[in-house]
Symmetry: C2
Subunit: 210 residues, 2 copies
């Protein structure tokens, strides 16, 4: 691990990128960054598609060693790589699967609703949305509220998403949850989420989103 | 592990449920099933929400031991639990993260397009779709084709999604890919996917989708 260095290909406004920076910060892992503007299409250039990620998306974790350079897309997979062998991944078989359960929930139920509405309303602007996007706002609002309610219920009896200690499930869910109000999701109805946000911000090594 | 038994709460038409049955079959793990009709709302009853999954979704893996009964939602997390310590999860740090990379891709880029169009067109029926759903067909068609193209490119140089041997990345992506034509995605343009489907079907212990 000491022979590797890391470059994060990112857009600082993206919560998916922040997941990786937060994980690295909590683990004390140095991370260089290369920045792209996704709204300007900078991750869809031929160079990016050819060299960094054929999927045209950020974040991508570049892993450099003396032998080779490798690229790892998907925010939660990059967090897994960095945290491999650390206290952010529980050893217990069920706890590990339960942590992944919340990370898959994040990608399927949370991000497409909570993060997408933030992106549309805060960065694209409601006036610039297509009719098709505008028609989806209500469904995404309801699905996002459902996702937040499920998190809130889970946090009623646990300090962190996958138990008593922070894990990658928290690193995956914190970024878009703590700025959910930018997408019109008030957090006042979710007191256990608000307490959890405060606990995450208190973790040693915590770094804020830019 | 020998002291545990498993019940899969499922709808047999769901590829997400089939992922878990395929993983168990390849590993020789016995799996009892309880069946629900999602179109009839059988996973939204108060009993189901209270006892099995507050998220109202299947699949859920029920894990019974002498000490306790636990429930694990999210198909890919259930596969992880069953395959823990087996050859379907590589030991190598990068290979493991790369496998998870394709499993997160499956939930974010593949399932919401390839599986959703199959569900809408084959099970709900185009005539029964809402205007809002109908307006999304074209975008889901394009995004699904992009996901299949990325898989096809990846399989040009590798026998399986995360390398030379089958892993959970294949178990996650095979179910909805091999029935993608039911959602209107012809596979003729993706020859490497077709060859990969044949390789999966040849694996010892393979079980077909019902």
């Amino acid at each position: 691990m000491s022979t590797e260095s890391y470059i994060l290909h990112e857009d600082p406004r993206s919560g998916n990128c922040y997941k990786i920076k937060l994980t690295a910060a909590l683990l004390g892992i140095p991370l260089e960054t290369r920045q792209y503007d996704i709204i300007q299409g900078e991750t869809r250039t031929p160079e990016f598609l050819d060299q960094v990620n054929a999927n045209g998306r950020i974040p991508v974790l570049q892993i450099d060693s003396a032998e080779e350079t490798r690229f790892l897309p998907e925010s939660n997979a990059a967090c897994w790589y960095l945290a491999s062998g650390s206290h952010l991944i529980p050893d217990d078989r069920f706890a590990q699967a339960d942590m992944l359960r919340w990370m898959f929930f994040e990608q399927y139920n949370h991000e497409p609703n909570v993060a997408t509405l933030r992106f549309w309303l805060r960065f694209v602007g409601e006036a610039n949305l297509s009719d098709q996007q505008r028609a989806q706002i209500m469904a995404k609002r309801i699905a996002g509220q459902d996702a937040l309610a499920l998190m809130n219920d889970n946090l009623e009896s646990r300090a962190f998403m996958a138990g008593d200690a922070p894990t990658l499930a928290d690193m995956a869910l914190f970024p878009y949850t703590h700025v959910a109000e930018e997408g019109g999701f008030g957090l006042g109805n979710y007191p256990h989420i608000e307490a959890w946000i405060a606990r995450i911000k208190d973790l040693p090594g915590f770094t804020a989103m830019e």
